[in-house]
């Protein structure tokens, strides 16, 4: 018998090798208590959270929690059904109404996760004979959506407008084309030149999908994302987003002004063949989205945190993924996986949690310590974070 698991041997060996050096397993951390959007108890120790994408700190918002409790009481624990059968409750419609209002768009479709939103929309709208043109650093959910569908996939160099334009011009003029972009790329926290990319895509007759997972709630005048910030949201055909970041719950969505968009509810398999979100989750999400529409002060503080952390880390001598703070993600580049894991563990010992990101999730084979800031981090916490980075960095010998 061939052991189907033998294909994982190299990864198993790499993992064992890493653990043999004495570092704690970075991928099996347990949050024993969560005290607020920015503090949890890990290994019995109070720990500052700096890797949760909880950008706006909505997870413990009083109104959000109250909405969830009420829905739990009134609608029960779960829906036990697909959105197209028995799984659409009042709360799902209210959540979609909140999204339509938030983005100022005609249609909104809520999925059970952000992953499924990309998987479903991309695999369904681009079919056989169509082309999907995507940035090489696209998120796994975008690649998986491509793999699930039947379109031809064309990749271009990360954030390279000229490379995109060249490829678009080589495609058959009359073929269906979908250009897939992200507002903020989650590994390095860099922002895409959407304005130029959308211009060349429109000139080539392509439809455009932008994943704004890491920008919703704090980039753009109304928090609609990078496309809004760059003044091109009206040219985007489909915005994909998630509830598991700024919104503070779980779920995914697509908003669009396409006149035929509603047909997606019948043809999109990751929407149809799965159970819908529980009533409490959609109620929390709707309450959170409505609050995110009016959050100017929190946004300003989040940006201040991000700039302060970026400058502080750079001044300490860390190598960062972007020349300036472009989003609420600050990526610290580690020399290699082993040093990265050591630094990660040293930070945790100092009471600070960040994300350890490594290939294949990262671009260019990099190991990253990814920091995501929260609007609820106080200025004192950011100063504290910097001193913990300094202690850990010196202990590990990175700075």
């Amino acid at each position: 018998m061939t052991d189907l698991f033998s294909k994982f041997d190299a990864l198993i060996a790499q993992r064992e090798g890493l653990l043999a050096t004495g570092v704690k397993d970075p991928f099996s951390l347990v949050m024993e208590e969560v005290k607020s959007p920015t503090v949890a108890v890990v290994n019995g120790k109070e720990t500052i959270l700096l890797g949760t994408y909880n950008y706006m700190g909505m997870t413990f918002d009083d109104d959000v929690i109250a909405a969830g409790k009420q829905a739990l009481d009134e609608f029960g624990a779960g829906t036990t059904g697909s959105r197209v059968l028995n799984g659409t409750f009042q709360g799902h419609k209210e959540c979609e109404d909140a999204l339509k209002e938030f983005y100022g768009m005609d249609h909104a479709m809520v999925f059970s996760t952000g992953y499924q939103a990309n998987l479903g929309i991309i695999s369904t709208i681009a079919g056989k004979g169509d082309y999907i043109i995507l940035d090489i650093d696209s998120h796994a959910s975008i690649y998986d959506g491509c793999k699930m569908g039947d379109a031809e996939i064309v990749a271009f160099r990360h954030n390279d407008v000229e490379a995109l334009e060249k490829r678009l011009k080589r495609l058959p003029a009359d073929a269906g084309k979908l250009v897939v972009l992200e507002g903020v790329y989650s590994m390095l926290g860099d922002v895409a030149p959407l304005k130029e990319m959308i211009r060349v895509s429109k000139e080539a007759g392509a439809m455009i999908l932008v994943d704004e997972a890491h920008s919703m709630g704090f980039i753009g005048e109304n928090g609609r994302g990078v496309a809004e910030e760059q003044g091109v949201l009206d040219d985007v055909d489909f915005v994909i987003g998630t509830f598991s970041k700024s919104v503070g719950t779980v779920g995914g969505f697509c908003v669009s002004n396409h006149p035929k968009f509603e047909i997606m509810r019948l043809v999109c398999r990751p929407y149809v063949f799965t159970a819908s979100l529980p009533p409490a989750v959609v109620a929390c999400s709707a309450a959170s989205i409505r609050k995110l529409m009016h959050n100017g002060n929190k946004r300003a503080h989040l940006w201040e945190n991000s700039r302060n952390l970026h400058k502080g880390l750079r001044d300490l001598g860390f190598k960062l993924g972007t020349p300036d703070a472009q989003s609420a993600i600050i990526a610290v580049i580690m020399p290699d996986l082993e040093k990265g894991a050591m630094m990660w563990a040293a930070l945790l010992e100092n009471g600070l949690y960040v994300n350890l990101a490594r290939p294949p999730a990262t671009p260019a084979g990099m190991t990253l310590l990814r920091c995501s800031l929260c609007a609820e981090h106080s200025s004192e916490q950011v100063a504290d974070i910097l001193s913990r980075f300094e202690r850990a960095g010196k202990a590990v010998g990175i700075i």
């Binding site: 082309y131 090489i136 491509c146 031809e152 996939i153 064309v154 990749a155 271009f156 160099r157 490379a163 060249k166 490829r167 080589r170 495609l171 294949p360 671009p363 260019a364 084979g365």
Partner: protein, 81 residues
Amino acid sequence: MTDRSEMFDRLKGLIEPFNKKGVEVGETTTFAGDLEWDSLTVMDFVAEVEDSFDIIISMNLQAEIENVGQLVDAVTKLTAA
């Protein structure tokens, strides 16, 4: 077979700057195995070939190309179209 050997030579020329190990390149040389290219190198190389011949090598097609001979066939077909 002049056309084929011309195509082979041209592609071999494009491979050379990425051939850090100095591997002897033939028809059966594989990109992942023999040349030990990672996904980043593959992307840079594919972009180079695409721009040189003004073609698109989709990711669907890339998945089927494992060695230099297969690349010669694929590019020949794409440029003939």
